[in-house]
Subunit: 221 residues, 2 copies
DNA sequence: TTGCTTGTTGCACGATCGTATAGCAAGCAA
DNA sequence: TTGCTTGCTATACGATCGTGCAACAAGCAA
């Protein structure tokens, strides 16, 4: 017996969906992709999962981004910008003392929202794309150059001679990245405070060593 | 018109496949998984791709490992062991001077087969699993503890006081890992020789700084 | 109220995923 | 040669993947 009426699946006066400005919708999809990437990792970030997280139809991803790859790349750019903003804000709020600004940068690297297992999942997914795709590799190179440039500036303000800035910045970037990675992967080995102390000790050693080198007391390498 | 005979797809006297000892076959599958992981990354490491690389039927993966996850975990253990062996061999071949042994460790970290884009792809895939799965996370913790323990021993031989060994080892591990990661991700920014020089300069600064601290000249942190 | 623009839905398509299983056959033992 | 053990193949299954497309409808303009 077929019913002669259709059961309403929603209140008749409530819209089935809300139209949104294209750019705003893109932002919402990027935000959803960020959450899914953080929660389920790279393998879980499918078109359907992201669309469900954003409470929209899967077709919208193709419509606004042309494909899942472009959405992931846009998410990479967005997360990178958020990390940069968090680090810049920490440095800007540290006052005028160059050494304090450098310490603020390091401290922010090991504090939320940067030192976060969810952010690590996002970053690992991106590294996978950096290896596999040239366009994402270019995004990474730009971001890394930007990070290193920021450290170089902070080091120059601390009195590091220009000739040593580049290698010192690479060293500190690598140190912070390595500590950040292990802090997120195995939080029980050391905590954020110890990561910060380790980084500070290394930076102090680096600056002292360079100052001695300038005075001619020690000359290695 | 159906032919009255069947076309032979292979010489009648040649075996269609060769039987192999179970343990040996497991090794061959792990080797194939390593190659696929390095070539195509985590997303390309499917059962079918690995089986094709090993020139066997896909069913063999399930038969010998019970599932793709166990094969990937076994591959992780195998690659970790290979890295450990390469580092140990470099240290063992460096003679008796403690400082030279530490330098050999660092140099090996930035040379083949360790500093290799293919190995990075494998490692990134593993990190994704470390985040998603507890059993792989335990594998990682064991490996990291092993690496750090090795550095701690080398540092102790270099005269670093026991109380400082732990944090110094974490610092050097993070520094080398960070340099290794960026060296593999963006080989055009700096090369292996510069990575080695940067790491050596940091280690020199660390050891000098600690020696000064012991003599009471400087006391920070 | 009417019409138009376009953001959005919902479904279908082929490809590929991991896994289970029935049966074949390689190679050793007798 | 015969028989047996078991490594191995081949196939099928359901689930899920990314994408394309036609129709729908929300919301503004007139």
């Amino acid at each position: 017996m077929t019913p002669h009426f259709v059961v309403a699946t929603r209140p008749v006066n409530k819209p089935a969906f809300t139209r949104t400005d294209a750019e705003e919708r893109r932002r919402l999809l990027i935000a959803a992709a960020t959450r899914v990437l953080a929660r389920d990792g790279a393998s879980g970030a499918s078109v359907r999962a992201i669309a469900q997280e954003a409470k929209v139809s899967p077709g919208l991803v193709t419509h606004h981004f042309g494909g899942i790859d472009a959405l992931i790349a846009a998410t990479y750019a967005d997360v990178s910008a958020a990390v940069t903003a968090a680090l810049d804000a920490a440095v800007a709020g540290a006052g005028d003392d160059p050494r304090a600004r450098l310490s603020a940068y390091v401290a922010a690297s090991f504090a939320p929202p940067i030192a976060d297992r969810a952010l690590l999942a996002t970053w690992v997914a991106f590294w996978g794309l950096v290896i596999a795709r040239d366009d994402v590799a270019r995004l990474h190179d730009e971001q890394y150059a930007h990070f290193r440039g920021g450290i170089e500036g902070l080091l120059a303000d601390c009195g590091v001679p220009p000739a040593a800035c580049r290698r010192s910045a690479i060293a500190i970037t690598a140190l912070v990245d390595g500590l950040w990675l292990e802090l997120c992967l195995s939080p029980e080995v050391f905590d954020a405070a110890e990561a910060r102390a380790i980084a500070e000790a290394q930076i102090a050693a680096l600056l002292d060593h360079q100052a001695q080198g300038e005075r001619g007391e020690v000359q290695r390498d």
